[in-house]
Amino acid sequence: MKTSVPIAVTFLVGTSLVLAIFIPHTPFSTLDEHFSVWFNILACFAFTLGGGNLLKTHLTKIGRRERDWQYSVVTVGGFLVMLVAGLFKLGAPSWDYDYIGRETWFKHIYDATFTPLQATMFSLLAFFVASASYRAFRAKTREATLLLIAAAVILLGRTPLGHVLTAWLPEPLAFLQISNLSTWILGVPNLAGQRAILIGIALGIISSAIKLILGIERSHLGGGRDA
C-alpha cells in the first residue's frame, strides 16, 4: 500500500495531464491550472512542516547548548519576528492592506535586513567568478584555448571597452569588432551548444517522466516493498 497507492496516483495524474495537452474539452483544458493550484496548496501546508522542523532543530540546539547555539537563537528570533509581522500585518493601516505595503513592519524589516543580505550573497558571485576564472581558464588543450579566447572576447564585449578597442576596424572587418564577435559567440556557437544540451535534457525529462508514471522509478517513494 505504501508504494502502490502513490504509484497509482502518479499514473492517473500523469496520464491525465499528458492527455489534457491534446484535449480542449472541459475539464481537461483546465486540469493543468487546477493541479498547479492544488500543488501550491500542498506546498503551503508543507511550509508548516518545514517551519516546525526548523523550530525543532534549532530549539533542540539551543536547549542542549550545542556548538554555535547562539546562531540558532538568531534564526528562531528572526523566523518568529517575520512570521508575526507578516501574519498580523503589523503597522498596516487596515486589514485589507498588502502585508508588504509601504507602512508595514514587514516591509521595513525586509528592506533593512533581507534586501542587503540577499544582495550581499549574490555579490559573492563577482569574487568567486574571478577566482574560478583564474583557476579554470588554462590553455591546456586546443579546446581549452578556444574557450579561453571566447571568454576574453565576451568579457570585453559586455563592456564599452570592447567597442572602444576595435571600433577603428574598417567596415569589411566589422565582424571582428569585439562587440560583434561577442554577440556572434553568444548567438551562434554558444546557442547551438545550449540547444543541443536542452534537447538532451528534454529527452531525459520525458524518459524520467515515463519511468515515474509507469512506476518503474520508485526509489523516491522509499523503495520498499508493499506491506
Binding site: N40, A119, A126, F127, P160, L186
Partner: protein, 289 residues
C-alpha cells in the same frame, strides 16, 4: 628558500584576487568613472517600440526578480517604466515572483511618484501585485485577466478602476515588458503569454539568462536587455531622446565603469594563470630532460 616564480603565480592566494576585484569595483565608483555606452539593435528595438506607442496604449510590466538581482534588473525596469510613462501609456504593474512586490513599490516610488506626480492611480497606472502559480498564472491571465486579478495589490475591487475597463485578457495589451532573473520569467511570458496572445514581449534579464533567450529573438521576443550592459544601453537611448532624465536614469551607465574595470582585472588574472601554467610546463620539461 621561496618557491619558484611559476609556483607562486599559479597559487595566488584567492584573498588577493578578492581584494583586487573589490578595489576594481570600488575605485571606479569612487572616482566616478563613466564610459560611453553604445545601444545595440537588440535593445533599441524595445526603445523604438515604446517610442512608437500612441498615448493611452496599454503596457503590462511584470517585475519577476528579487533583491539579489536588483542591481541588474531595477535599472532596466525603471528605465522602461519611465519611458512608457513619458509616452503617456497606461501602465499595469504586476509580478509572478514572491519577492517582486518590493521591487514594484521601489519603482513606483522612484519613477511614478518622483517624475510623474500628476499621473492618477487607477486611471494612468495600477499596481496589481503578486500572483502565485508561475506559468499557470500567465495562462489564467490570457484566459481571464480579471478572473485572476480580482483586486489590486491593496485589496480594492478591480472593476472600480478606470484603467481596467476593456481589459479582459493579455490580448488587450499593446506590449508586455517582462523583467526577470530566473524561473518563472521571460521564457514563460513568451511561451504562455505573448506568443499565444499575439502580444509583443520585450524582455530584460540578468546577463547569465540572456543567451537562453536568443532563440526567441526577433520573432517571439521583440528585444532583449541582457544584464547591466543591456540596461545601460537602454538608459543611453532614453537619455539621448529625453535628456532631462539623465540624473534619474543613469544607474546602469554609472555601473559600466566598475564592470569594465572588473572584467579587465579578471582577464589579467586569467593571463597571469596561463603565464604560470606555461612557465610550470617549461620547468617540468627542463626537469624531465
Amino acid at each position: 628558500m621561496s618557491a619558484p616564480l611559476h609556483q607562486r603565480l599559479a597559487r595566488v592566494d584567492r584573498r588577493l584576487i578578492f581584494l583586487a576585484i573589490g578595489l576594481s569595483v570600488a575605485l571606479p565608483l569612487i572616482l566616478n568613472l563613466r564610459l560611453a555606452v553604445r545601444p545595440t539593435p537588440i535593445v533599441t528595438k524595445i526603445f523604438d517600440k515604446i517610442e512608437s506607442l500612441p498615448p493611452g496604449s496599454r503596457v503590462l510590466f511584470s517585475f519577476d526578480y528579487g533583491p539579489s538581482t536588483m542591481p541588474e534588473n531595477q535599472p532596466m525596469a525603471e528605465a522602461t517604466l519611465r519611458h512608457a510613462l513619458a509616452k503617456e501609456c497606461r501602465v499595469y504593474l504586476m509580478t509572478i515572483w514572491e519577492t517582486g512586490p518590493p521591487q514594484i513599490v521601489r519603482a513606483i516610488d522612484e519613477v511614478v511618484k518622483k517624475d510623474f506626480p500628476e499621473r492618477v492611480y487607477g486611471r494612468d497606472h495600477i499596481y496589481l501585485g503578486f500572483k502565485a502559480g508561475q506559468q499557470g498564472a500567465i495562462n489564467a491571465l490570457l484566459a481571464d485577466f480579471k478572473g485572476l486579478f480580482t483586486t489590486d495589490a491593496n485589496g480594492a475591487e478591480i472593476n472600480s478602476f478606470e484603467i481596467m475597463q476593456g481589459v479582459e485578457s493579455i490580448r488587450n495589451f499593446d506590449l508586455i515588458v517582462a523583467i526577470g532573473s530566473g524561473l518563472p520569467g521571460v521564457k514563460e511570458w513568451i511561451q504562455f503569454g505573448g506568443d499565444p496572445g499575439n502580444v509583443p514581449v520585450a524582455a530584460g534579464v540578468t546577463a547569465v539568462e540572456a543567451p537562453l533567450l536568443y532563440p526567441y529573438y526577433p520573432r517571439q521576443l521583440l528585444g532583449l536587455m541582457g544584464g547591466l550592459q543591456g540596461a545601460a544601453e537602454y538608459e543611453t537611448a532614453l537619455i539621448a531622446k529625453y535628456p532631462h532624465y539623465e540624473t534619474q536614469s543613469s544607474q546602469a551607465i554609472v555601473m559600466m565603469g566598475p564592470q569594465t574595470v572588473a572584467h579587465v582585472v579578471i582577464i589579467l588574472f586569467i593571463v597571469l594563470g596561463n603565464v604560470a601554467y606555461f612557465l610550470e610546463r617549461r620547468a617540468r620539461k627542463k626537469e624531465g630532460r
